[in-house]
């Protein structure tokens, strides 16, 4: 399915005439210099064709005949290559002579008898050339190991762009002659489009996945003999035609390109995600859908934009159809999302989702709703990546690192968001664990606890009959929630009595124990609170009365005895209750303009 969809997308891009996407047998490569040849093969000039607009000259990307897949063997490319092959000189290669030999041999056999003027010139050049001629003024050491192309004097196009060269290339590809183009292949049924065609032995490499080798990794490969079956070798294990292999790799490389205008690629933890649209109607629909999904995946940083997106998400969550919200979008557009992660020179598929835009938009809206907690702890809806940063240690003075996240947590969460399934349970467990160990109860963490529990409840896994509300719920009788609230009030009493300058508040000291084993901690806490209350009663009797009333109300909702221990989901509720209650104090303060110290719970904005 993945390869089929990619191959179809390639077809569409070719029809649309998109830039950077090469026709069959060609590929965009970084080229630095061109050699200008006279018809008799004399080098007339060597031009630097790099792009010098930036600080450093950057090689230009030209469409050249597709390179050979090189690992250790010597294989020459057709009509272009790096200096060790073309000229037999190199700063790094110790076998430049052999490599040049290969280049010469390939072209002498392929170009023999070609009537074309340009190709003749190249042949003549190869016969004249010896590596000793690599000298100033024409050549400089800077050229070493860069890629070169050829041009015939007096023409604008390069040698490989001449009709004769292209016809020759096509013949070499079709005939599968040794040395040129992919090696001769057996016929077989291609599992991408089901037609009988020559089968690719090796698939072109895919570049641009973070963490993979820079020379590219393979999506389809059989690089060890344990991976092969039925005595087949290489591509015969999975018959994919040359055409299809070329199509899916070029389009994947196109999607993975690292350029500022590429909105179809995003990085989520160790996984590189690409997505694309397939519209029954016109290309504009597909483009609009891709842009819309991009904005859902990584919400804009701009306040007004974020607000507008939130409105859209809200309306979607309420069940309004997408077409009503944005008439430019065709809800039936099919979207494909592919998550790739590197693994030992190969790429593995982390997730693969194909659905209509409407479905994806609804699921993302659902995700936003499940997470929503009041007061809203963020300005911009958090991306998955930011969400997951809440589950790793937040050490003082150090940025949280996504590497600290549990194994595949990011991948599974992303899958849950895109697929509408349950969030992984380890998301709740690791969040609760992190709250207990570093005592940082941020809104993001409370929101994660809420999201996991709300979604489980919605999908039929009930750990309690009671719903979890978005904002403070005074009617709740959930012990976990109530204990969280109680804890927040007790902390507030302490702070009101002693001021904001306490070295270690009860939250710093007791949060972990209180949320896990309430029966052991709460009686002690309540006793201590009486001391704070005593002080408060003398200084601010009015506040003391309100707080006492609040404590009494909460305790009245609790069972007769404090629970001995709380399960992980109740610990999640504890966190939610704590967040709700402490934020309620905070906002009340704001309204009253009270000067007492604000709670320390942070509200997280955009990172």
């Amino acid at each position: 399915m993945i390869l089929q969809a990619l191959a179809r997308y390639y077809q569409r891009l070719i029809e649309r005439g998109a830039d950077d996407i090469a026709p069959y047998g060609y590929s965009p490569e970084k080229i630095s210099y061109e050699i200008v040849l006279a018809p008799d093969g004399v080098v007339l000039a060597v031009n630097d064709i790099r792009d010098t607009t930036g600080k450093k000259p950057q090689p230009r990307v030209l469409e050249v005949p597709q390179p050979e897949k090189r690992t250790v063997g010597i294989k020459s490319n057709f009509l272009w290559d790096k200096t060790s092959y073309v000229l037999g000189v190199s700063a790094t290669s110790k076998r430049a002579d052999k490599e040049h030999e290969a280049f010469k041999a390939l072209h002498e056999s392929a170009l023999a008898g070609a009537p074309d003027e340009g190709l003749k010139a190249l042949l003549a050049f190869l016969q004249r050339w010896s590596p000793e001629q690599f000298q100033v003024p024409l050549f400089s050491d800077e050229m070493l190991d860069a890629n070169l192309v050829f041009r015939l004097d007096g023409e604008h196009r390069h040698l490989h762009e001449r009709e004769a060269a292209q016809a020759l290339r096509a013949r070499l590809l079709g005939g599968g002659e040794k040395g040129a183009g992919p090696a001769a292949a057996a016929e077989g049924v291609c599992l991408v489009h089901g037609e009988s065609a020559p089968i690719a032995r090796l698939h072109p490499a895919i570049k641009g996945v973070n963490g993979a080798q820079s020379s590219g990794a393979s999506l389809v490969s059989f690089n060890l003999d344990a991976f092969t079956s039925y005595g087949k070798s290489q591509g015969d294990n999975a018959p994919v035609s040359e055409q299809a292999a070329f199509a899916y790799t070029s389009v994947l490389n196109y999607l993975l390109r690292r350029s500022g205008d590429n909105r179809q690629r995003l990085q989520v933890g160790d996984t590189t995600v690409v997505f694309w649209a397939e519209s029954a109607g016109n290309e504009a629909d597909a483009r609009a859908a891709e842009d819309f999904l991009a904005s859902l995946f990584s919400p804009p940083d701009d306040d007004s934009e974020a607000e507008r997106l939130r409105v859209v998400l809200d309306d979607l969550g309420k069940g309004r159809p997408l077409a009503e919200l944005d008439p430019d979008l065709a809800p039936g557009t099919r979207m494909y999302v592919l998550g790739l992660a590197p693994n030992a020179s190969r790429l593995s598929v982390r997730y693969w989702q194909a659905d209509t835009l409407e479905v994806f938009a609804k699921r993302l809206a659902q995700h936003a709703q499940d997470l929503r907690i009041e007061p809203l702890p963020w300005r911009v809806e958090p991306t998955v990546y930011r969400l997951l940063l809440a589950t790793v240690p937040n050490r003082e003075g150090a940025k949280p690192k996504a590497d600290d996240a549990f194994g595949n947590l990011i991948g599974e969460t992303m899958r849950a968001i895109l697929g509408g399934g349950l969030y992984p349970r380890s998301l709740l467990a690791s969040t609760v664990m992190r709250i207990r160990s570093d005592g940082n109860l941020s809104g993001m963490r409370a929101a994660i606890c809420k999201g996991v529990l709300v979604r489980e409840r919605r999908l039929g896994i009930r750990t309690s009959d009671e719903e979890i509300s978005v904002s403070l719920d005074k009617q709740s009788t959930q012990p976990g929630y109530l204990l969280g609230r109680l804890f927040a009030v007790l902390e507030y009493v302490q702070r009101s009595a002693l001021g904001g300058q306490v070295n270690a508040t009860i939250r710093d000291r007791y949060y972990g124990a209180a949320s896990a084993t309430p029966a052991a901690i709460f009686p002690v806490l309540l006793r201590n609170t009486q001391n704070h209350m005593g002080k408060l009663r003398k200084e601010r009797p009015g506040q003391a009365v309100t707080l006492e009333k609040e404590i009494r109300e909460i305790v009245a909702g609790l069972p007769d005895e404090f629970p001995r221990s709380l399960r992980i989901e109740d610990q999640g509720r504890f966190a939610i209750g704590y967040y709700h209650q402490s934020q309620a104090h905070f906002t009340k303060h704001d309204a009253a303009g009270d000067a007492a110290g604000p709670t320390k719970t942070e509200t997280e904005g955009a990172l």
Partner: protein, 224 residues
């Protein structure tokens, strides 16, 4: 089909590996005919019969999950085994898993349940004492009692399959909520043609009303 059988199979996890992604495994969306055949053969198979899968009903929504495991990268070559046999000694004939580790990722199916409809044919190796009725009875009796030659599995040995015979006349079970009724599943492996150089044969799998019709082995739509 007078001698058709219906078998319910289910399991926690399943991995019906796509050939193009068999290294970093990605499963097909549903069970393949060859995997279904493997389950039936685990219950009853003799050289005299050949199983044919007719239809596959998908009874649970398609859900995926990713896991990573340590596996080995190499296997013993047949040549070195032949050499050891000739020498009459197994010295040096070993693979040490801890020296040849490969971590591989797999995207597998979660919580699957299928109904397999199948029938069998007698092959030319069937003697005079083999009859359709006999093998059908044997299969039904064994399936009813839960007997099998080896534990049937869902694609790979790590994911065992539970099974139950659906007796004749018993209505089809209802699919669970959330099962997509119609889906194009692309080109799917039908089976391996062992008589022709172990060539894989593919067919265009389509789910219609939660059911995948499997074309007969020699049909034109199955391509080698």
């Amino acid at each position: 089909m007078a001698f058709g059988i219906r078998l319910l199979v289910w399991g926690e996890r399943a991995c019906f590996t796509r050939p193009e992604m068999k290294v970093e495994r990605v499963s097909y969306d549903v069970i393949t005919p060859s995997a279904a055949r493997g389950i039936l053969e685990a219950i009853h198979w003799k050289p005299a019969i050949r199983w044919h899968i007719d239809r596959i009903h998908v009874l649970k929504p398609i859900r995926f999950e990713s896991i990573r495991r340590n596996e080995v990268g190499g296997k013993l070559s047949p040549a070195s085994v032949a050499k050891a046999m000739k020498a009459g000694s197994t010295a040096g004939l070993a693979t040490f898993v801890d020296e040849d580790r490969q971590q591989r990722a797999a995207t597998v199916l979660r919580g699957v349940r299928y109904l397999i409809e199948a029938h069998f044919e007698l092959t030319d190796r069937a003697g005079p004492d083999n009859s359709v009725g006999k093998h059908l009875d044997i299969f039904n009796r064994r399936a009813r009692k839960g007997q099998c030659f080896h534990a049937p599995c869902l694609g790979v040995r790590e994911f065992p399959a539970s099974f139950e015979l659906l007796e004749e006349g018993v209505p089809l079970p209802e699919p669970a909520p959330g099962v997509e009724a119609n889906k194009d599943l692309g080109w799917m492996l039908h089976d391996i043609d062992f008589s022709d150089g172990m060539t894989p044969r593919f067919f265009r799998a389509r789910m219609q009303g939660g059911v995948i019709e499997v074309p007969p082995w020699q049909a034109g739509e199955v391509k080698a």
